[in-house]
């Protein structure tokens, strides 16, 4: 299955999908030292986004969240790529400064947690390979 979306930030990555239907607030919602989602009541609460292809509809919360993505990357616990339904400023800026491949305008409801995804940021392409 191949989806053609839109390039937000270039780069290629491969990893296991971690999918949520809820928005993510990186500032305050994700522990920057461990990559674990800490937002109360979030679908992903307690799960680590480290090394995953993180799939969520859109970002929310404080603009400081862009720096949280950068901090995750520096700590080695960032997602390998991000796929959104609709990207917004916080996630986009975070991916660019942290250099995390990011693609949006993908039908994320068709992506399942645990599936192996191949991301081609340059082409805005998301491929489910297993």
């Amino acid at each position: 299955m191949i989806f053609h979306g839109r390039t937000i930030y270039q780069g290629a990555a491969e990893g296991e999908a971690l999918v949520t239907t809820m928005g993510i607030s990186f500032f305050g919602g994700v522990d920057p030292d461990t990559g674990v989602v800490v937002e109360n009541g979030h679908q992903l609460e307690g799960q680590s986004i480290s090394g995953k292809v993180l799939v969520f509809p859109t970002g929310k919360g404080s603009t400081v969240g862009s720096y949280t993505l950068y901090r995750l990357k520096r700590n080695g616990v960032a997602p390998v790529a991000i796929v959104n339904a609709q990207c917004e400023t916080i996630t986009a800026v975070g991916c660019i400064i942290a250099e995390i491949p990011c693609v949006d305008q993908v039908p994320i409801e068709q992506l399942k947690t645990g599936a192996l995804l191949k991301i081609d940021g340059e082409q805005g392409k998301v491929e489910a390979i297993g």
Partner: protein, 399 residues
């Protein structure tokens, strides 16, 4: 997006690593929000300055941008830092924090950002005029600039504002386009608004109403004949904090209001609504308060003169921070206000404010005239809050 040859060069890295990163940010935002091109900006205000918010990662990124040769191309000023740059010891800031904060300021200075450290750039020389495109972060200043000045800015984050500074442009979408500045709902105010805290409470009421719309409209406010700079800065801060508003129109007060007639959909705000909003910001008794702060947003010289008048010859009994921009404090120094105020035991905290200073948990309850300060005091710093009129706040510091 359609880029000019020079903008394309920036994106390709011809102008250095930092400028390239900046242009990558702007192109991505332009793509997301459907901008067709970049527009030149005349002014930038960068938020994300306090080390308390940035942390080591934020500092590292800013240092990388400075190392990468980033230099501002337009007048660029800074939001408040986490401490008074000259007088941090008196405010109980740790040496370790001060060292890191100064590294942040140094990174900005290396990029030729003017290190004003204030949320009211429009009071201290970063004053765009009507119709100019600007790229500001700091939500209260964005709302003030769009509404009161009629300049045009989206609600930028720290990195996107810095990106505009390093390239001199911003993608043309949102508030930069005339059609997006049209009001969507009339808000008729039937309440008395004598003081800053009343305008703050009005911002809470209107902000929360706007949040209930599926697509947030711009408010067209009627029923207020006049408002001072202080009241408008208070209202801008509040409606931006509680409603994420980038702009409002106020008939008879703001310059673009006359371009439009009031939208048919109308919400009436009563005195009871306002009183209820004030009450919602009071979570302690006055005698529980151990912290008093004025200056959210940063105080005008007028306000400082009033504090001096009220405090002269007396002693404060609580920790009292007066937060303002350094140049305003320097005028207060010259006028003798600073001397009068400091003799009472009250403290100036220039360059910073009680929203961004590292004071979480340090106090029990805050007395302020600012609805925005209440929001961050309770959420971020875990203080109880009490809101009251400006003069009463000053007098409460004496009790």
């Amino acid at each position: 997006m359609k880029l000019t040859p020079k903008q394309q060069d920036m994106l390709d890295g011809t102008h250095g690593r930092a400028t390239q990163k900046a242009m990558e940010i702007l192109v991505a935002l332009g793509t997301i929000y459907g901008a067709e091109r970049m527009v030149p900006v005349t002014s930038v205000q960068v938020a994300g300055v306090s080390y308390d918010n940035l942390g080591e990662a934020g500092l590292h990124w800013l240092s990388e941008m400075a190392d990468g040769g980033g230099k501002t191309r337009v007048l660029t000023t800074l939001n408040p830092a986490g401490m008074d740059i000259e007088n941090w010891q008196a405010l109980g800031i740790s040496e370790d924090f001060a060292r890191q904060q100064l590294r942040v300021i140094d990174a900005f200075a290396r990029m030729n950002v003017v290190t004003t450290c204030s949320c009211t750039p429009y009071l201290i020389g970063n004053s765009p005029h009507y119709g100019q495109h600007i790229a500001w972060s700091e939500s209260s200043a964005v709302c003030y600039a769009n509404s009161v000045i009629g300049a045009r800015s989206n609600r930028e984050g720290g990195p996107s504002a810095l990106a505009a500074a390093l390239t001199g442009v911003t993608p043309e979408y949102g508030m930069h386009l005339a059609e997006n500045r049209r009001p969507g709902v009339t808000i008729h105010v039937e309440a008395r608004l004598p003081d800053n805290n009343d305008f703050g409470a009005l911002g809470v009421v209107i902000g929360k109403r706007l949040e209930q719309f599926k697509e947030k409209p711009i408010a067209y406010i009627t029923g207020i004949d006049q408002a001072s700079v202080e009241q408008l800065k208070s209202f801008s801060a509040s409606v931006a904090t509680y409603g994420g508003a980038a702009m409002f129109h106020m008939r008879g007060v703001t310059p673009e209001a006359d371009r439009f007639s009031p939208p048919d959909e109308t919400i009436v705000i009563t005195q009871a609504d306002l009183d209820q909003a004030q009450q919602s910001l009071i979570s302690a008794e006055t005698d529980e308060a151990d912290f008093v702060s004025l200056g959210c947003p940063h105080l005008t010289l007028n306000e400082i003169a009033r504090i001096a008048e009220l405090l002269e010859g007396k002693r404060v009994t609580k920790e009292f921070w007066i937060t303002t921009a350094r140049p305003i404090k320097q005028m207060a120094d010259r006028m003798g206000y600073t001397h009068v105020i400091e003799a009472t035991g009250a403290k100036f905290a220039a360059d910073t404010c009680c929203v961004v200073a590292p004071i979480k948990g340090r106090f029990n309850a805050l007395i302020t005239d600012s609805a925005k300060a209440c929001y961050y005091a309770s959420g971020k710093n875990k203080f109880k809050t009490i809101i009251m009129p400006f003069d009463e706040v000053v007098l409460a510091a004496l009790e």
